[in-house]
């Protein structure tokens, strides 16, 4: 019969068992994955099974890494998102955190746009390292995302976003994310994008400053194709800063809304 072993189609004896295959191919493998599920028990293999054998601590190949990450997600999720494209406007506390989550889950292509450089004050909540201070945020983020999951494509564009360049930057995305800082910029991006691309859903955020209760942050549908995460009211202002926990909660609301949209589910 035919099976896929580490993504290669191979002939094996009929009714070959998993442990026998391991003995033949990779006796020291201690991570056994069949059709995306990690398994520990020996079992008979079936025609067209996808088997990946990995030795813990060993640097995996790109194909093995993809299998390993796939195996951690719900089966079927990876297939549905690996060819999809998400646009992220802003690479600050929201954008860098959303990009990290979508990279880990394996969204195939991220387009990230931000004009700014990494500053010391960003490190209280943004997904950068102190040795990246002074680098363009999009370049630093692209490198961090590559280190997490080299299997996805990240388009990093250092540019200020205005109404006139939206179509060029984000015309091809399946889902758009608003992850900017100033209220005026958020409203500008959201209204211009939804007016130009009424068929493409947009996930925005408003209200995540301070240390109010976590559960006040929600995901709501506020207009056609327009989803808003946050508490809706808590602005960043003198005396109420932006901090990692609550910005992270709002960012992950956004990331999960994006994932749900890509999987054909309602985000709210």
């Amino acid at each position: 019969m035919l099976i896929y072993f580490n993504e290669q189609l191979i002939h094996v004896a009929p009714e070959l068992r998993l442990f026998a295959l391991r003995e033949q191919k990779k006796p020291h493998a201690d991570l056994l994955i069949i059709n995306g599920y990690p398994v520990s028990e020996d079992q008979a293999l079936k025609e067209n099974d996808r088997v990946v054998l990995i030795q813990r601590g060993e640097q995996p190949t790109a194909a093995e890494l993809e299998q390993l990450m796939m195996a951690r997600h719900t089966p079927g999720v990876h297939e549905k998102i690996k060819n999809r494209c998400v646009g992220i406007a802003g690479a600050g506390g929201l954008g860098s955190t959303i990009a990290t989550a979508l990279t880990r889950v394996g969204v195939g292509h991220l387009i990230i746009v931000d004009f700014d450089l990494v500053e010391p004050s960003n490190l209280n909540r943004q997904q950068y390292f102190s040795d990246q201070i002074g680098l363009p945020k999009v370049k630093a983020l692209q490198e961090n995302l590559r280190r997490i999951n080299p299997g996805i494509k990240v388009t990093a564009i250092q540019q200020r976003i205005i109404a006139e360049n939206l179509s060029n930057l984000f015309g091809q995305v399946d889902v758009m994310v608003e992850a900017l800082d100033a209220a005026e910029q958020k409203a500008m991006l959201t209204s211009n994008f939804l007016q130009k691309f009424p068929e493409t859903p947009l996930v925005a955020a408003s209200g995540m400053a301070g240390f109010e209760a976590s559960n006040s942050i929600r995901t709501r549908k506020v207009a056609e194709g327009f989803y808003l995460c946050g508490d809706g009211t808590t602005a960043a202002e003198p005396g109420r800063g932006l901090m990692a926990p609550r910005v992270g909660i709002a960012a992950h609301h956004q990331a999960n809304a994006v994932l749900r949209l890509l999987l054909g589910e309602k985000p709210e």
Partner: protein
């Protein structure tokens, strides 16, 4: 003129553009996303778009932070 704004019916004495409505509601136009009858309108259309009796509006206020 009766307008449905964020699900609530409200009465207005005179004809209004979107800009005039936002001013009357004391909202900052550049921080608001306006959806009129399920269509998003950018800020450059606020002054030229007149509202009609029975219109449905969603006014979504953004606050800063990200």
């Amino acid at each position: 003129m009766r307008l449905k704004i964020n699900g609530q019916l409200q009465n207005f004495a005179q004809e209004l553009t979107i800009s005039q409505l936002l001013e009357q509601l004391q909202l900052v136009p550049k921080q608001i996303v306006v959806e009129l009858n399920r269509e998003i309108l950018t800020a450059d259309r606020h002054t030229t778009t007149r509202l009609n009796d029975g219109d449905t509006l969603e006014l979504i206020q953004f606050v800063g932070g990200g």
